[in-house]
């Protein structure tokens, strides 16, 4: 006799109860879930969009979208993965909208430098002098990554998600996550080598990137 398989549910019991209360329209349960994930989602959003006010917009829109459609959540995946997935999509949308806006309305150099944040910030030699040069270059290089690769790097190294969890967030299998991480590291290496004037390492990175076109 074959035992019937029960549907797999993810999440802690307390979290499941909170989500069920949310689905019943309990605003206090919304607030509790928001308090549980607010800091992590904000830091993730900040590291992806690289701007405090934009990160705040990302968090607010992501939580609003989750709360508005939480009735459809059926516990077939992790709530955390779903939340981060919404946040990633919202961050990419906001970055794309900002890019279109900047293309349509070019700002003066001063305000652009003030509002664009780290993602568009130019190389600042005095900052490099104050900190370790490699770290400063690395920070600048992370800002040069595209949002998808930056999201993968942040989820992997900052939130320490597994490849499977990242795959659930990004919407791809773990193998693709591994290759995207590899490509992100090579892009970082390439960008850093160019910035620090190492043409030999740039050529090596190009060779590796051409072998892993993900």
């Amino acid at each position: 006799m074959v035992a019937e398989l029960e549907p797999v549910t993810y999440g802690h019991d307390e979290e499941i109860l909170l989500i069920q209360r949310c689905q019943a329209g309990d605003r206090l349960a919304f607030e509790e879930i928001f308090s549980m994930y607010r800091d992590d989602v904000f830091r993730f959003s900040y590291l992806v969009v690289r701007d405090g006010s934009l990160a705040q917009d990302v968090v607010q829109e992501a939580f609003l979208k989750v709360f508005r459609s939480i009735e459809k959540f059926q516990f077939r995946s992790s709530f955390k993965s779903w939340l981060y997935r919404v946040a990633v999509n919202e961050a990419i949308t906001i970055l794309r909208r900002r890019k279109v806006k900047e293309d349509l309305e070019p700002m003066p150099d001063v305000s652009r430098e003030r509002t664009a944040g780290y993602a568009q910030r130019d190389w600042q030699p005095e900052e490099a002098a104050m900190e370790s040069e490699e770290r400063a270059v690395l920070r600048w290089a992370i800002g040069q990554l595209d949002p998808v690769h930056r999201s993968v790097v942040v989820l992997k190294y900052f939130h320490e998600f597994s490849d499977t969890e990242i795959g659930a967030v990004i919407g791809c299998p773990p193998g693709t996550v591994k290759s995207r991480l590899h490509r992100a590291r090579e892009l970082l290496r390439n960008t850093m080598a160019r910035k620090m004037g190492r043409p030999d390492l740039v050529a090596l990175s190009y060779a590796r990137l051409s072998n892993n076109p993900v």
Binding site: R27, F30, E31, F34, S35, R38, D39, F42, R43, Y46, L47, G52, A55, Q56, V59, Q60, F63, L64, F67, R68, Y118, E134, R135, L138, R139, A141, I142, V153, V154, Y157, F158, R185, L188, R189, M192, A193, M196, R198, L201
Partner: protein, 142 residues
């Protein structure tokens, strides 16, 4: 030059620690949720109010359809069963006996009335002027 995993992790943590977490996010989210609830309430009230006047509107449309599409296709009122031609409506009809008309006939120039023969020039011009298109329903040839 290749950054180690530890370097990347430390750098990300250092950068994330720089930015303070805003404390007014839940306030904004809560106000947006309140706006959502108010919008839902307004939509529900619109539906409830619509439930009152929508049947009346449907009835009005049906009445219009009945008047403009159904009435002209009814049989002539003079030939309606039980109509002996002595009703006030039938007696008041200017074309009684010469032409069958439909029920809600409003007005129409009498075609079989004799035209005046002795008139002045201006009166003749007025009499021969084209008849204005009065509102009337088509007739059925007998």
């Amino acid at each position: 030059m290749r950054p180690s995993d530890r370097t990347i992790r430390d750098e990300l943590r250092r950068e994330a620690a720089k930015v303070p977490i805003p404390d007014d996010m839940w306030k904004n989210i809560s106000s947006r949720l309140d706006q959502d609830a108010a919008r839902r309430e307004r939509r529900w009230q619109w539906l409830v109010r619509g439930a009152q006047w929508r049947p009346a509107m449907v009835l009005a449309v049906a009445a219009g359809f009945f008047w403009f599409a159904l009435i002209p296709n009814l049989p002539p009122m003079d030939n309606m069963p039980g109509n002996t031609g002595t009703t006030p409506t039938s007696q008041a009809s200017p074309n009684r006996g010469s032409q069958q008309t439909y029920g809600p006939r409003i007005t129409r120039p009498a075609e079989d009335e004799p035209q005046p023969t002795t008139q002045t020039a201006s009166a003749t011009a007025t009499a021969t002027a084209p008849v204005k298109p009065y509102l009337h329903f088509p007739t059925v040839p007998q």
